[in-house]
Amino acid sequence: MLTKRQNLMETMKGGKPDRFVNQYEFMQMIMSVPITRVRPAIGEEKVNEWGVTFRWPEGQLGGFPVHDEEHILIKDIENWKDYVKAPSVKRPEEDWVPAIEAANAVDRNDQFVTCFVAPGLFEQTHHFMRMENALTAFYEYPDEMHELIDYLVEYELTYAKELIDHIHPDCIFHHDDWGGQISTFLSPKMFEEFFLEPYKKIYGYYKANGVELIVHHSDSYAATLVPYMIEMGIDIWQGVMTSNHTPELIKKYGGKITFMGDLDSGVIDFPAWNSEIIAKEVERACKTCGKLYFIPCLTQGLGISSFPGVYEETSAAIDRMSKELF
């Protein structure tokens, strides 16, 4: 039997995997990295490390950036430099110990030591100034948006250096949601203009420093962005929703990029979930997408589900499909 790592490589290279890669199994996420995001717990409001206020009201599913006049970070984009100050990434060496120990405990022959990076460049722009302002600024203030994104890239590179120096990750799991369910936020052309080079820089830097695998999360439609993903150096697109017609993407781009998802969280992961729906969806995904360049996975951006038991039940269903199809 192949190790998880070998099995993933066979799947990505179009070789001979001996089973489906099962969701996030190949990544061992190192979550004890000391450069953490400040986030509110339920019922709380917190100003994060960039100065963005997040609020998680009681009874809600998660936190949300607060964008009224008083709280919005970038009040006018022309003067973004007055508002945006990158946080420091320096931490005392002893703070790194738990993360280093966690990384050392991983059998790198079996799994990829993985560092988690979020939010992404696009997400930061709308956290800073709310979605509508960010989206119109790409038209009305393109120079300022380029400068702001370059500034975020510089920050990401200093952050990357800390991760590389301390953890030597094999894999980076990087979030940036580029669309909704049926379309991307930006046109492909605008996406290329603002995000291709910045991500090439970031992902290129990781690759030049020992990172083998770039996994990018966008749980959305983004089929039209796949050529850019490939050019950026993304090895695996996690979060691919069924609205992308994943089997067609695999046919077209398999070998250049691997698709991880095709199990829409919205359809499977809800309060009244049951194992029949999961089995049916997993069977559909595995049978239509096939054994190569595809990893069946919930579209959620971490190896968890919103409702207890769904992730595990999905993994079990994938194992059953492996038995049947391999």
Partner: protein, 210 residues
């Protein structure tokens, strides 16, 4: 190109800095405010259709709406009464428990540019607040409820059913949001559904003029 045609083209192209000037020029040349407004409403219709077919994206739509708003500002003092909102008032909001508003705001913009006056209740709107808004505002012809989370689908249902059970009349209810399907819209008792902001404006008009 006539000035009106130019206004139309520049709204479609989202030229926020040019439209106000062009509208003024059109007025100076003797075009009627109503006709200029209609031209802008038409161009937003085109923008909506292009958005529905995936030809343009959210930024293009936002910027076109912004361009139109600049033009409307020039026209407002000239328009008698409320002819800019001839289809009545639309109450819109994202349902209780849900804080997503990008889709709702796009829908609101498109419905407004189709000729409704908008009362935006914001996000996390309890069912009763929709009902209160119908009571408190004049000539409410449409209530639009948005929901983006599968977990708030029951709140969407509650909003529609509370509105329907309120005894108030004279308005239709339209629902939408990524997890909402046409079947679900029927199941909860809504009068209409649309998959995106472009078709929401078309549907809204259809519902209140039917």
């Amino acid at each position: 190109m006539s000035k009106i045609a130019e206004v139309k083209a520049k709204v479609e192209a989202g030229k926020t800095k040019l439209v106000a000037g062009l509208v003024q020029e059109a007025l100076d040349e003797g075009d009627k405010a109503e006709d200029i407004l209609q031209a802008m409403v038409d161009s937003m219709g085109v923008v909506g259709d292009k958005f529905s077919t995936g030809e343009i994206f959210v930024p293009e739509m936002l910027i076109a709406a912004k361009a139109m708003a600049k033009g409307v500002e020039v026209l407002k003092p000239l328009m008698a009464g409320d002819s800019a909102s001839s289809l009545g008032t639309c109450v819109i909001g994202t349902v209780a428990g849900d804080l997503h508003d990008i889709g709702k705001n796009l829908v609101s913009m498109m419905i407004e540019s189709a000729g409704f006056k908008i009362v935006d209740l914001g996000v996390d709107v309890p069912a009763q607040k929709f009902v209160d808004a119908v009571k408190e505002n004049d000539n409410v012809t449409l209530v639009a409820c948005s929901g983006l989370l599968t977990t708030t689908m029951p709140a969407l249902k509650e909003a529609v059913q509370t509105l329907k059970a309120s005894g108030l009349t004279g308005f239709k209810v339209i629902v939408g949001g990524a997890p909402v399907t046409p079947e679900y819209a029927v199941e909860v008792g809504a009068d209409g559904y649309a998959p995106d902001a472009g078709s929401a404006a078309v549907k809204a008009k259809e519902l209140v003029t039917a």
